[in-house]
Symmetry: C2
Subunit: 271 residues, 2 copies
């Protein structure tokens, strides 16, 4: 299966990268000859990022070739590296709660894939080759040294994860799902900040909400009204109170289960 992923040599390479004692390969300085595929993006990323002569040996060993349909990494795996595409192509995707797939992007030679998770985190998306593909693998751990404790990486990857969730929402969810996801997200963020997750004030207008979720203002309004009629929440202008968070989550997550009529009971998975 996975022809990707560094083998037992990882540890040694890591030592080389982290300024280890090994000082051998000074003659492999012409690394760009071996990395011509990355030229279009300003030359070998390895050299750009890791200006270390020892990197040459590392790059030679970091190259991997995958055949069509092989995973480079999968959602949930522990992430320790990102990749630069040398040749071929890939797609990254995530899987919705109901098992549907959402493609997040396609990657061509020179592109970087796998930056939406940082060291010690788990992959937030999967990546699979679309054809025979050659990749260069870079450990986060090295960047972390440069980026001072990986806080910067953490922040940027969080931003990416949020963006990806928005993409998922826009591409796969209907109006109900989008509004519910939006409210659930807000609630969670308020809770994380020590505020109430069930009652809060919207700081943005209906216009803004619609503009964010790719919906017309009228649809936002109607959907909120319907949610209220169904007892999921109480809404008055900017004031929102979530009465049935379980149902809200259910609407947010699952695309198939529509939430049309008030008399039609929606099965809850809690209580």
């Amino acid at each position: 299966m996975a022809t990707l992923g560094l083998s037992v040599h990882d540890k040694n390479l890591e030592q080389i990268l982290r300024g280890g004692a090994v000082m051998k390969i000074a003659q492999t300085i012409h690394i760009d000859r071996q990395c011509h595929a990355c030229d279009p993006r300003g030359g070998c990323l390895g050299i750009q990022l890791l200006d270390n002569p020892d990197i040459c040996e590392y790059l030679k060993q970091a190259k991997r070739i995958s055949r069509k349909g092989e995973h480079v990494f999968r959602e949930g795996e522990v992430a320790d590296a990102f990749f630069v595409v040398r040749s071929g192509s890939l797609k990254s995707y995530l899987v919705t709660e109901d098992g549907e797939e959402q493609v997040l992007g396609f990657y061509l030679p020179g592109d970087v894939i796998g930056l939406d998770s940082t060291e010690l985190q788990h992959r937030m998306s999967s990546a699979i080759t679309l054809e025979t593909t050659s990749l260069c693998r870079f450990l986060y751990i090295y960047l972390a040294d440069k980026a001072q404790g990986s806080n910067l990486l953490r922040i940027t990857s969080e931003q990416m994860q949020r963006d990806h969730n928005l993409v998922l929402l826009l591409a796969r969810k209907d109006a109900d799902g989008r509004i519910a996801s939006f409210l659930d997200d807000l609630a969670c963020r308020y809770r994380a900040r020590g505020y109430s997750a069930s009652a809060f004030l919207l700081s943005m207008s209906r216009q803004d909400i619609g503009c964010y979720l790719g919906l017309a203002v009228e649809t936002v309004s109607r959907t909120l009204t319907r949610f209220q009629e169904c007892g999921v929440l109480q809404v008055n202008r900017r004031e929102v109170e979530i009465l049935d968070h379980a149902t809200l989550r259910k609407i947010a997550g699952i695309r198939g289960d529509r939430f049309m009529e008030c008399d039609k009971d929606v099965e809850l998975d809690s209580a």
Copy 2:
């Protein structure tokens, strides 16, 4: 207007940040008392990112308060800093070719805004407050030192910009616009890599394209067929040849101008 944006003190602060000689303020070490708003996200980001005692003085001066509806930054401006929300809330957005606005995200206390552009680059989005809001401002230049020449920042911000374009596409464009944007993007990326921008092979299936663009496979197929009937492109399975790139771009950019009938001439803005 802009109560944000550091004044003439910038230069001094920058020197402090970059490890300048000034060693005064050692008593202001209890910075977290002043930054309680950031606690929910793991404490003051300034201390996390810039573990420098001198940072305290900087943070004191980096704080700014904006009233509702004020821009923190605008698309196109030269970017030299990012911000942490201390209190209040903001939205970030970008403007489509036809002047419509696409909200990219809402930001609450503790959130980081403005990382989708790096030093020397221009802002790729705008940010405006939704209410009275307090922010902490951080210069990229300091991160750049840590992140080794800002290459990491450049790469992550490129990824974010691509994500934001996808969001824009999903939220504001119809099927025609999405397919056209998708093809135009591919063409540009191939050109940037030295390949032909007018004729290429799709490495992904119709399924993947639909999954990426939030469309059903059938819609992808139908749209491509219609584009071909209109003479915009030639398509045969995975082979694509763009015959009229100007029109393709026109379809990609503008939401209003539908592209329905073949006999209806579409005005070109070139030639």
